[in-house]
């Protein structure tokens, strides 16, 4: 796998760019094909397990978009996830609203607005802020909101909000199981495609520029903070959608879903799977959750130590994560360039957006 070697020459004898073998689309298609029949092939427990992985996968995508593409180290993804989940849970319990068409959009908008508020504080200054400042700012935000939730009886304090009703659509309950699984899969696939398109757009090119030369790109006239603010807020929207689904899938929303522990867990999902690939963090969620489950069967108390060491080893020796073993750097960064029709026939076959 990886890049194809050496320069190629076209018929005119000029040097051409090295082509690279595209792996990501095959992995994406393979996973989607495997995910569709899954509920009919496994027991009920594993359908619930897989649904949770899909929901957390959505949360991991939000982090990958923010860090892997936007270059913003956010320890606040759980904040948006949790605030949105709490908001949807409160609306469902206090107002007896169960329609998925109300609750999930509300959760998404809540995630977006929470992220926008935090972005105003830690990102949208007159000058770009540092990675460390944003990391600490988002971590602090996540910590503060968790503490608030733990001490606020209206939102259930330490116990959170439990016994949530099922989501409904047109009067039909969306039970945890096959129906919920396909709703989660549909939302994840849709968000995935939209984020991929955005990251391969001219907007995505600016983000790639910011990641590589943040100080340089301001001299081209780009207001870096605005681009980061948009990505950060969209990340909040996606995390909020995941939070809304999570609350009704688990039937519960607690302070643990708001705080630094889950925020850090999301970072690990992405690092393990491979940041900047979108599919990597989803694979990271699946593998970490399966390993956690399997290890806990053998060593009930000490399994986090084994898992922690595994993650540490991977991050130290393979910072590009699992996907780094399969996907070349060239494919990960990708091309944004010539529209296909504008490129000549020879270049057009090789120079497609990744």
């Amino acid at each position: 796998m990886g890049t194809m070697p050496l320069m190629q020459e076209n018929s005119g004898g000029r040097q051409r760019a090295p082509a690279y073998r595209r792996v990501l689309p095959w992995i994406e298609i393979a996973l989607l094909v495997a995910a569709i029949p899954l509920p009919w092939l496994v027991e009920d427990f594993w359908i619930l397990f897989a649904t949770k992985v899909l929901i957390l996968g959505l949360l991991a995508i939000s982090f990958d978009m923010v860090w892997g593409f936007g270059g913003i180290m956010s320890f606040g993804q759980a904040l948006f996830f949790g605030v949105a989940g709490y908001t949807a849970a409160l609306i469902a319990t206090k107002l007896d609203v169960t329609s998925v068409l109300v609750l999930l959009p509300t959760a998404a908008v809540t995630g977006l607005l929470s992220a926008l508020v935090l972005a105003i504080i830690v990102i949208l200054g007159r000058r770009p802020t540092t990675v460390v400042f944003v990391a600490l700012g988002t971590l602090t935000g996540s910590y503060v909101v968790e503490r608030l939730a733990r001490g606020w009886s209206y939102v259930g304090g330490q116990n959170g909000i439990s016994s949530l009703p099922r989501l409904t659509i047109g009067g039909v309950e969306i039970e945890e199981g096959i129906l919920f699984y396909f709703m989660a899969l549909g939302i994840l696939a849709t968000v995935y495609v939209l984020v991929r398109l955005l990251m391969r757009s001219q907007f995505g090119l600016v983000l790639a520029g910011i990641r590589q030369q943040e100080s340089r790109i301001a001299f081209l006239g780009y207001r870096v903070q605005n681009y980061k603010g948009v990505v950060f807020s969209l990340g909040g929207l996606i995390a909020g959608t995941a939070g809304g689904m999570y609350a009704f899938h688990e039937g519960f929303m607690g302070p643990g879903q708001l705080g630094p522990v889950l925020s850090t867990q999301v970072v690990l999902y992405a690092l393990f799977g491979g940041v900047g690939t979108l599919i990597g963090p989803i694979i990271g969620v699946g593998l970490i959750e399966i390993m956690s489950y399997a290890l806990s069967q053998y060593w009930e108390t000490g399994w986090p130590i084994v898992l922690g060491l595994l993650l540490l080893a991977l991050v130290m020796f393979r910072p590009t994560g699992i996907m780094g073993l399969l996907v070349s750097d060239r494919e990960r960064v990708g091309s944004f360039g010539r529209p296909k029709q504008a490129a000549d026939p020879v270049a057009g076959t090789r120079h497609e957006a990744a």
């Binding site: 000029r14 040097q15 051409r16 760019a17 090295p18 007159r126 000058r127 955005l198 757009s201 001219q202 907007f203 090119l205 600016v206 790639a208 520029g209 590589q212 030369q213 100080s215 340089r216 790109i217 301001a218 001299f219 081209l220 006239g221 780009y222 207001r223 870096v224 605005n226 681009y227 948009v230 750097d329 060239r330 960064v333 091309s335 944004f336 360039g337 010539r338 529209p339 029709q341 504008a342 270049a347 090789r350 120079h351």
Partner: protein, 244 residues
Amino acid sequence: MKLLEARAISKVYGSLAALDGVDLYVRANEFHGLIGPNGSGKSTLLKCIAGAEFATSGSIVLAGQDITRATSPTRSRAGLSLKFQITAIFPELSVYDNVLLSVQAGESMAAQIFSSSRRRLDEKVMAFLERFRLDDRRDDLAGVLSHGQQQWLEIAIALAREPKVLLLDEPTAGMSPQERRATGELLAPIRSHCSLLIVEHDLDFIRDICDSLTVLDQGRVVATGSTAEVQKDERVKEAYLANV
């Protein structure tokens, strides 16, 4: 007509005055050289004009607009473009994408999100690549270009913003004599629509392309005027040329 005016610029770092009341003017369609010994404040002045640093005092006016306290993006949108001393291309992007990044900077964020201007801008990107003899390398990663080609790419990136004034900090550093000559040929045509302020150690290159010069020494202007006048100035010979 004075297009760029830097008036009484001072820049102080702690107790060190890097610039002390420097005046500098660049006229429309003029190539202006900024020379001086190492540590004379040339790059600092360029950074103050570009917005990488803020002057401690003084004012900078571009085409009648005061940009003294403006941020770098605002200065860029006002018509100022910069090529850094240390090459600052985007090494993991293709050569084409490097130029596209600059060409599309004037587009709205919505247009960028929907990639609606990509096709329209293609011709412009290719024109810049052809002009800077990089069209054959358009699909290559910018990081694998030779040093000279990277310098050209950065000049192309700076020019693709269609600036009123282009600031170049040592554009020929590390280039072979052939590449230096080619760089002069590449820059000559921009005179029709753009002024140039250039910091350069290669005095032959400066003499060949610049209409006027400002000489700095220890943060102060030693001489300024046409290239021919400044070359004859005894103070310049003492302060700089004799030491080269």
